[in-house]
Amino acid sequence: MLISLFIACYNDTLFPETGKAVVSVLERLGHTVEFRAAQTCCGQMHYNTGYRPEAVSLMRHFLEVFQGAEVICIPSSSCVSMIRDHFPGMAAEAGLQNEVAELLPRVYEFTELLVDKLGVTDTGATYPHTVTLHTSCHSLRSLHIGDRPQRLLRSVRGITLVELPASDQCCGFGGTFAIKNAAVSTAMLSEKMQCILDTGADVCTAGDNSCLMHIGGGLAKQDAPVRCVHLAQILASGISDSKILAS
């Protein structure tokens, strides 16, 4: 299958290893990955902060770039949520209702792609670490991701999975909220970090680098012995032609 990758602007800029991991997993499963270089951003930051016209432009660009792509893979729940939940509402004012309606069924978050479309729960990975999974708010409440991430992680050789308590509680990132309400964001982060530390895990993973950047940043500041690693990088690990990737 030809799979078109939407890397997400912040992954592209700050977490390229996540994108490389996605490519590695999909190619190992025998698929061809294309990266349409004209891609930029789904518009979430602008949309959420109230800059709707700018978000509409970015949506328009997204639709143009991905015209004709049969399967679009996105390693970011928040971007998928933006597309599914908010593109339809913006489509009317841009005269793009048909294009958006036609786009939505082609968009998959990375674990959705693996489990639902490709029927895969074992990517052949090895990752001998104790790992706890943080469920981002978008994956939980918008994508209803269910247990897809767990099913994929459970197949990883050598892994020890520990459940994260209070996993339905927001980590406090929230995009510009992390800056505008930094004090509260930090308070929410502290609780999340405590839950993570209480699990005794070496690694915290998630399908969203936005959360992981916030959580990982907090853990690093405290010199905590926990690393944050995107789910894709765990699922790509231990495969001979790719590196074990950690941030």
Binding site: G50, M188, A220, K221
Partner: protein, 462 residues
């Protein structure tokens, strides 16, 4: 027009207020414990209901229908209520409401009233107006009594004194009730409140209440409560004045079956709250011989006028959103500077003010969506928060710096070429970024800029 929403016009911004409150460990512990308790109770009783989603859907439809035909239902309610002996007054804003109420009380030459909790009276600052007119209002809800005795402010819609623990309350009662001794357990405190208030219930001639629902079909009014002070205030006095927001109308009596299932389970995690009182106009030899209803606008028609945010008015004041909110959990209600706090407060307060006040509230959210999940009337709070942010951007009520940053970012992301160039600039500017964003770096390290972006790596590969 003078819309008031408590004292929200002059409140500190959310970030300022939150920062201060975050330093109050006792408060935060009280808030955490309280919200977790109700949240868990709610989850348990909602799980018992296989038709919960059907109830939510019906409630949403009922409210949508009411708001679209509000004029019809308001007039119907007035007619039925008047036929049954009630007197209906209309109040465009807080001052008009307060004046009407004072007028009725003065007409009876009374100097005191007993009140049962209603947020509308906090909205209009009724107590301040009453006292200025030489009328003493006695709050009779335990929490409001605690707030009144302590010269404090409510911090939660359903459990207003949630920020106080029993030791603090005991101290307050000892001082203000003139008691020489008082036990330390909650039972002792409520027994003290019972005695203190009973004398007033049996004596005071004028009662004041709000209402949870007003039925257009019959002209009936419904008060949902736990303590029994509501029953006291709406039954025992000679004269009863009830104020309610115009959005509280429901079309038919049968519609109560939907809300009387959703509200108790959502608000206090009970299958049914202890007491509901429903009455229509005046009943000879049973209860007040004179009944007045004040229908309050006070900015609600402004909310109604924005189709994208209108469903804010579906709210039945259950406060499930407060209990679910991870932001509220950290700060409690005072941070919002409004009697309506938490997620619903963040959308309702600024809208009542036509977005002229409480402008920081729509940003007091990480958009996690927990509120929408628990809202019994399906208000899409995250969507409305974004919509309100958009309104603020459009009206120029954001900082010049932010607008600049957003426009620059949009410009950079308009094409891959520009994005690539911006990424290179960012790499160079990393150390400066570290310095410029202390809001981030005070508590979090910034990720190191990688030596190549994904697109650079991909380009080399092919």
């Amino acid at each position: 027009m003078s819309v008031h929403v408590g004292n929200s016009e002059t409140a500190a911004t959310f970030p300022q207020a939150a920062k201060e409150l975050l330093g109050n460990a006792q408060l935060r512990q009280n808030v955490r414990r309280a919200t977790e308790t109700i949240r868990n109770k709610r989850a348990k009783v909602v799980a018992e209901m296989p038709d919960w989603e059907d109830l939510r859907n019906s409630a949403q439809q009922i409210k949508r229908n009411v708001l679209r035909n509000l004029d019809t239902y308001l007039e119907q309610f007035e007619a039925r209520c008047a036929e049954a002996g009630g007197q209906v007054h209309w109040a465009r804003d807080a001052d008009e409401a307060n004046r009407s109420i004072i007028g009725i009380i003065e007409g009876h030459n009374e100097k005191e009233i007993i009140k049962v909790k209603t947020m509308t009276s906090d909205e209009t600052r009724l107590n301040v107006a009453l006292e200025a007119a030489g009328i003493t209002p006695y709050e009779t809800d335990l929490a409001d009594l605690i707030i009144q005795l302590g010269d404090d402010k409510p911090s939660h819609i359903v459990v207003p004194a949630l920020h106080k623990n029993k030791t603090e309350i005991r101290q307050l009662f000892l001082e203000k009730m003139g008691l020489t001794e008082l036990g330390t357990q909650p039972e002792d405190l409520t027994a003290a409140a019972r005695s203190y208030l009973r004398e007033r219930f049996l004596r005071v001639k004028v009662g004041f209440s709000g209402a949870n629902f007003a039925v257009a079909e019959t002209g009936s009014v419904c008060v949902v409560e736990s303590e029994g002070n509501g029953r006291m205030c709406v039954t025992l006095p000679d004269v009863l004045i009830t104020m309610l927001g115009i959005e509280k109308i429901v079309p038919t009596f049968d519609d109560l079956e939907v809300f009387l299932q959703l509200l108790p389970r959502s608000a206090t995690g009970e299958r049914m709250n202890p007491y509901n009182s429903i009455w229509t106009g005046v009943t000879p030899n049973d209860g007040p011989r004179e009944f007045h209803v004040v229908l309050l606008d006070n900015g609600r028609t402004k909310v109604l006028a924005d189709p994208a945010a209108r469903e804010t008015l579906h709210c039945i004041r259950c406060a499930a959103c407060l209990n679910a909110c991870p932001v509220y959990r950290q700060t409690g209600g005072h941070a919002y500077g409004s009697i309506y706090s938490g997620p619903i407060g963040a959308i309702l307060t600024p809208q009542l003010h036509s977005m002229e006040h409480s402008q920081s509230l729509p940003y007091a959210s990480s958009l996690c969506g927990a509120c929408y999940e628990v809202c019994p009337v399906k208000i899409n709070i995250p969507e409305i928060l974004i919509h309100l942010r958009q309104r603020l951007v459009e009206s120029g009520d954001t900082t010049a710096l932010e607008t600049l940053e957003m426009k620059v970012a949009a410009f950079a992301m308009a094409s891959a070429g520009r994005l690539g160039a911006a990424q290179k600039l960012m790499r160079i500017g990393q150390p400066f970024a570290n310095m410029m964003v202390p809001a981030w770096t005070n508590s979090r390290d910034l990720p190191a800029a990688p030596k190549e972006t994904f697109r650079e790596w991909w380009a080399k590969r092919t």
